[in-house]
Amino acid sequence: MAVNTVVPPSTGRRQVSWGTPLTYAIALAVAAVSIAPVVYVVIGGFRTTPQIVADPAGLPNPLVWDNYARVLTQSNFWQQAFNSAVIALGTTLAVVVLGLAAAFVLARYSFRGREGLYTFFTLGLLFPAGAAILPLYLMLRDLNLINSYYAVILPQVAFSLPLTIVILRPFLSAIPRELEDAAAIDGASRLGFLWRVAMPLSRPALVTVGVLAFVASWNSFLLPLLVLSDVSLHTLPLGVQNFSSQYTTDTAGVLAFTSLAMLPALLFFTLAEKQIVGGLQGAVKG
């Protein structure tokens, strides 16, 4: 959909005459409904609790910075953001490396049992992470991993692998045979081909699976809730939940904390929106 194709004049004019105002009205309405609550929360963080109680739908008058300052200086916000970042980055890195290695074999080696191995991985798409959470907890407890970053990272990697492999394999298969031959003539082994040719060429797909794994990890709640009882290891979703139940009367503080917890995700997703949609589409067509 690069450049406008030639549109028959009649339909073109019809679209403009009635389509445009309706289009804008709908687009505006849907967008407004989507972000109004979020905007309200961010603005609410700039008010005081008595103001909010007296007039829940009002605007900040005067603007109060105190809530945000309090959350940033006196709460565990930074600690939790750090924990979330370590876990999300660790998960993403491991998923991409392990997924790429497995998908490369499944895409470019032919051997007996290859399709069986692929089906074995795709089966994981049908395994709901939520259902496995109790035995997972017991297993991590027996492995002495409770209250460590690994307790969250390892299961997250395992549950992200199937989708990663399903997205990466067709991408790696699509690299033309000629490139591999050329690399071989230049003296590259199969692993050299993976490192020097296949990996750079599949960068878009790697970004996609990386973003999806990061998103899932950053937002995850159930697994950390069970395996991270140590408060100093809590991630942001746990922090939001704790803060809101600990300071039930401090509505303005909760609004400020919630807004700040949203911020990294919003920034990240603004940058990665295309990859998320592209990745899901890739999974459909892959």
Binding site: G19, T20, I26, P128, I133, L136, V284
Partner: protein, 332 residues
């Protein structure tokens, strides 16, 4: 995706030299290369296979085992009770409520989000100024964590909160409800919040699917005199089939496992009465917090079987053509 998809590497040893007299030497070189190939296959796949087996497959096996015991989670399970945990679950009215709530969320999500998303996507399937910004804004609820969104709506919906104030200021004070405390209403409130969170995702997915529908087809139909609605009905929507089905699949699986949002938004007391419980919250409440580990694992197995069968049936009958038998059928 592309025709190059078909290109696969032939069996190892493809780099064999032209036919020559040194047959034995070539054969051993091929054998060496074949061995190296297997080392690579094993070396590259083992880490992924190990971690996948250990943390995805093994736990479900253990769940089945633990579910046959009455067990408080201390020491090895010893009190074998057979299938009693399962019969107990299906006799517990709270669990049946949880099942009903999951059904409400599964079908409610499909029936409410589907038409809304399809309608909005079809109406917005044209170039307009600010389309990129629109996509970003509509995506916002989806990218936020369910927990964050849940806390946010909990604040907005509390008695005398913002939603109530807004209704009153619009002169609709009679509509004010105990959104999260009314036992008959709470699941519908939660469904509304879930709709808010996930309808944008459906819109974005469908818009992306629509951008793959060739303009030529709709233009040809328009030249043949088809009305806007006829074009949508007979050309665009059928071509959107794969995207719609994959969205339905994702929505269904997510709804069956729903936990985070329910957990933080609804009050524990309301949840424990079953009014807002789902299978997942019921499982965690009983298994983890009440330490009924055997019973909790039985609920986990039930949740797993329901999700697995639903996914398998959906895959078998609706998705087959779309992901080319990746899961059930023959992988090509």
């Amino acid at each position: 995706m592309t025709s190059a998809n078909q290109i696969r590497m032939p069996a190892g040893g493809a780099s064999a030299s032209p036919a020559g007299p040194h047959k034995a030497g070539r054969a051993s070189a091929r054998r060496a290369d074949n061995r190296r190939k297997w080392y690579e296959i094993i070396g590259l796949t083992t880490p992924a296979v190990l971690i996948y087996v250990m943390f995805v497959l093994v736990p479900m096996g253990f769940a089945v085992y633990y579910s046959l015991f009455r067990w408080r989670g201390v020491g090895p399970p010893t009190e074998f009770v057979g299938l009693r945990n399962y019969t107990l679950a299906f006799q517990d009215p709270i669990f049946l409520d949880a099942l009903r709530n999951n059904a409400i969320i599964v079908f409610g999500s499909l029936l409410i989000q589907g038409p809304i998303a399809l309608g909005v996507a079809l109406l917005l399937n044209r170039r307009f100024r600010g389309r990129a910004v629109f996509r970003l804004l509509v995506f916002v609820p989806y990218v936020l964590a369910e927990v964050t969104v849940g806390i946010m709506w909990k604040l907005l919906l509390t008695g005398g909160g913002t939603v109530d104030a807004l209704l009153r200021s619009l002169g609709l004070g009679s509509l004010v409800q105990a959104w999260l405390a009314d036992l008959d209403l709470v699941i519908w409130t939660l469904l509304a919040v879930l709709t808010w969170k996930y309808v944008g995702f459906a819109i974005i997915l469908l818009l992306a699917g629509l951008s793959n529908v060739p303009d030529e087809l709709t233009e040809a139909a328009a030249i043949d005199g088809a009305s806007w609605w006829q074009i949508q009905r007979h050309v665009t929507i059928p071509l959107l089939g794969p995207t719609i089905r994959i969205w339905m699949f994702l929505s269904m699986i997510g709804s069956l496992q729903i936990f985070d949002m329910i957990w933080v938004t609804s009050v524990p007391a309301v949840r424990s009465l079953g009014a807002s419980a789902t299978m997942a919250t019921y499982m965690v409440d009983n298994g983890f917090f009440a330490r009924l580990w055997g019973y909790g694992n039985a609920v986990a197995v039930i949740l797993f079987v329901i999700s697995f069968v639903a996914a398998l049936l959906f895959q078998r009958f609706l998705l087959r053509r779309d992901i080319d038998g990746a899961i059930t059928g023959r992988a090509k």
